[in-house]
């Protein structure tokens, strides 16, 4: 009843091709954006912003990156963490080489490094696919991790081997480094994530994005219809790695402040893969739902026993959430392979007909 497109006539081609053709969707998105840009920074405390919202946005962005590759182009990748690391270390090197350039430009530039590395490790995808490809991305993961550890040039030969983020200003306010306020960092990340998601949404429904989906659905048929598999696959790798790289740079510069290699290890890659699976493969909104879900789950699991008056160790919470996530992955793969995004879709369909269950 509330969610109906009845009466919304499209009178021009541009209206027909709009990203959100239904008015209620536009209102909903506007509300979400207003909440995110105005109310959360105003009323969310430093703790809420710093430990929940910022990680959520960073993971959402990297989940978008992985989803482009795995969900839309059908190339399974287990090397997301390493590609994020390339972005982070690239950005770190850029800040030391060009200390006067604006940090935002450097963050966007660092994505190109991971895009290049992504293409390099995506080259085997021209000959192999599926599980075999997953193993080559595993090679990328371990090789790059080793590079971050051993190649001193990457961390400026400092003793700890970790990278420390310098303080950088934007409009006179610190956005990176220890003095940066959580609200400022949050707004910077939010703006970048919003813009990049918008770009991704448009690329995905454009010619390039549709060619990825064709390759995913059936590569031979796609080739017969004039899609160049080489270009489609490598562009998917480049695009996806770019997103992961920017997410990695943001993760270090606007969230953690300093990083050791362990931040980008294989568990990170898996975590982001879980977000994509649970959120929904081949759905942009799913990336955000999956990231939110995995981010919030441990908090809920920690909260439930204390609300019931039980005392549970932090390690146990971690293990229980790992069990729950594992079960949910299996559950979603069996019952709803398109994840939370699909559940949301079904919910919207129900809302459309409400209160008449059999309308239409």
């Amino acid at each position: 009843m509330f969610y109906r497109e009845a009466g919304q006539f499209k009178t021009s081609y541009s209206a027909d091709q709009a990203l959100l053709p239904i008015k209620q969707d536009r209102i909903g998105l506007a509300l979400i954006l207003i909440t995110a840009f105005v109310f959360i920074p105003l009323f969310g405390g430093n703790f809420f912003l710093g430990t929940i919202m910022i990680p959520f946005l960073v993971f959402s962005l990297s989940a978008v990156g992985l989803n482009i590759l795995t969900g839309f182009a059908g190339q399974l990748s287990l090397g997301t963490g390493a590609f994020m690391g390339v972005g982070a270390y690239g950005c770190y090197k850029l800040t030391t080489l060009f200390p006067d350039v604006n940090i935002i430009i450097l963050i966007f530039a660092s994505g190109f490094f991971s895009a290049a590395i992504g293409v390099l490790f995506g080259l085997p995808s021209l000959r192999i696919k599926g599980l075999y490809l997953a193993i080559t991305t595993l090679a990328a993961q371990f090789f790059l991790e080793w590079c971050f550890n051993r190649v001193g040039w990457l961390y400026n030969y400092n003793d700890s081997g970790a990278i420390e983020v310098p303080t950088r200003l934007l409009f006179g306010m610190a956005v990176t480094g220890p003095e940066a306020l959580p609200a400022v960092r949050y707004l910077v990340i939010l703006t970048i994530v919003a813009i990049m998601t918008l770009i991704a949404a448009n690329v995905l429904r454009g010619r390039v994005g549709r060619s990825w989906m064709m390759i995913r659905d059936m590569d031979i048929a796609a080739e017969l219809m004039g899609i160049r598999p080489m270009f489609a696959k490598l562009s998917a790798f480049a695009f996806s790695s770019y997103y992961c790289g920017v997410a990695g740079a943001l993760m270090i510069f606007c969230w953690l402040g300093s990083a050791e290699v362990e931040v980008f290890d294989i568990n990170r890659s898996f975590l982001i893969l879980f977000m994509v699976i649970i959120g929904g493969m081949g759905s942009l909104s799913g990336c955000f739902m999956g990231a939110a879900f995995i981010q919030i789950l441990p908090i809920v699991i920690r909260w439930v026993p204390s609300a019931l008056g039980l005392d549970v160790l932090a390690a146990t919470v971690e293990h229980i959430s790992s069990i729950v996530i594992g079960c949910l992955i299996i559950f979603f793969l069996i019952v709803e392979p398109h994840g939370l995004a699909r559940l949301w879709q079904i919910g919207k369909e129900k809302l459309r007909n409400w209160p008449y269950p059999y309308a239409n």
């Binding site: 000959r127 595993l138 051993r150 699976i277 299996i330």
Partner: protein, 318 residues
């Protein structure tokens, strides 16, 4: 010139100068290769029978070893602990077949892989809660595995053989031979091979797929237990082993996904290759090259011979 020399000449001069050390390195590599091969064997068994790429094999190794140690600690004698652990692995196999595999029949490879990643998380979480996260030492003596070492004097030097390594190699050999016999002689083994060849044809002659899958998961559970015992005896049993087990994936690329001899040869190539590379070429790169050698070798292999050394030529051309 100097760089080329340090890659192509100097390591071989080093090898020639200290042949006893070379032998020792090869032996060490051989032993870790055997363990990689055992893990890979568990993968191959399941992949052959059900087309599932079982990512959980590594965690099954850790889980079974921890179960064994914990049951023994709870007071059971070693033989009883082994039997109880086997019972647990059998239950696990049936549960996995019932809850996961049966529901995902005919799904895409990647979906099945991701399901086993989910399974890994579940087994890991349960294992950490039940057995605790601390590394445990394996009950080597109680199981009657020899410890100690033998020195072999050769080339004016000595090569040390740990008895436990010899035992590991021997047990691996026996197990592969046993599996070979099992596959070729027994009724269940032949049914397994039929399922591996063609699911539908196997169904049509009355082989129960569900039963076969449960059996094959149990078989790889047994392989996992043996691997866990041998590995645990060399170092401690801990969840860190799970990452090392990922190397078996590289072994599979080398050997082919469907070949048992391939898993063995691939495991040995990776084991010996990475030890020699680490010792003789590692210093050039600053050490620690063991972490990625296997994967990069697999990557290079994939470009030239994607079906592996012994695998069936089933690779889909892209």
């Amino acid at each position: 010139m100097e760089f080329l020399n340090s890659i192509f000449v100097a390591p071989f001069i080093d090898m020639g100068a200290a042949p006893d050390f070379l032998l020792q390195v090869i032996w060490e590599g051989f032993v870790s290769g055997v363990l990689y091969a055992l893990i890979a064997l568990g993968f191959v068994l399941i992949y052959k029978a059900s087309g599932v790429f079982n990512f959980a094999q590594g965690i099954m190794v850790v889980f079974s070893a921890l179960a064994l140690v914990s049951i023994h600690k709870a007071g059971a004698p070693a033989w009883l602990a082994v039997i109880l652990t086997l019972a647990i692995m059998a239950l696990l196999a049936v549960a996995i077949e019932r809850v996961v595999l049966r529901k995902l029949v005919n799904q895409h490879d990647a979906i099945l892989l991701m399901a086993t990643i989910g399974l890994t998380l579940v087994i890991k979480g349960v294992g950490e809660i039940v057995f605790g996260g601390e590394p445990q030492s394996m009950i080597t003596e109680e199981l009657g595995i020899p410890t100690g070492s033998t020195d072999w004097e050769v080339f004016d030097g000595i090569v040390i053989f740990q008895h436990i390594d010899i035992a590991a190699a021997a047990i691996a050999l026996i197990m592969v031979a046993g599996l070979g016999v099992f596959f070729s002689v027994t009724r269940i083994g032949r049914a397994l091979r039929a399922v591996a060849d063609d699911h539908q044809a196997a169904l049509s002659v009355g082989i129960s797929l569900n039963q076969i899958w449960a059996i094959v998961w149990f078989a790889s559970g047994v392989v996992a237990l043996v691997t866990g015992i041998m590995w645990g005896a060399r170092s401690d049993v801990s969840f860190a082993l799970e990452i090392i087990a990922l190397k078996a994936l590289a072994v599979l690329i080398l050997g082919g996904f469907t070949s048992i001899p391939g898993a063995i040869v691939g495991g040995l190539i990776v084991g010996i290759g990475e030890k020699m590379f680490e010792v003789y070429w590692g210093p050039l790169f600053g050490g620690g090259v063991e972490a990625w050698f296997a994967y990069v070798l697999a990557l290079i292999f994939l470009l030239f011979r994607p079906q592996g050394l012994f695998g069936e030529r089933i690779i889909e051309r892209v």
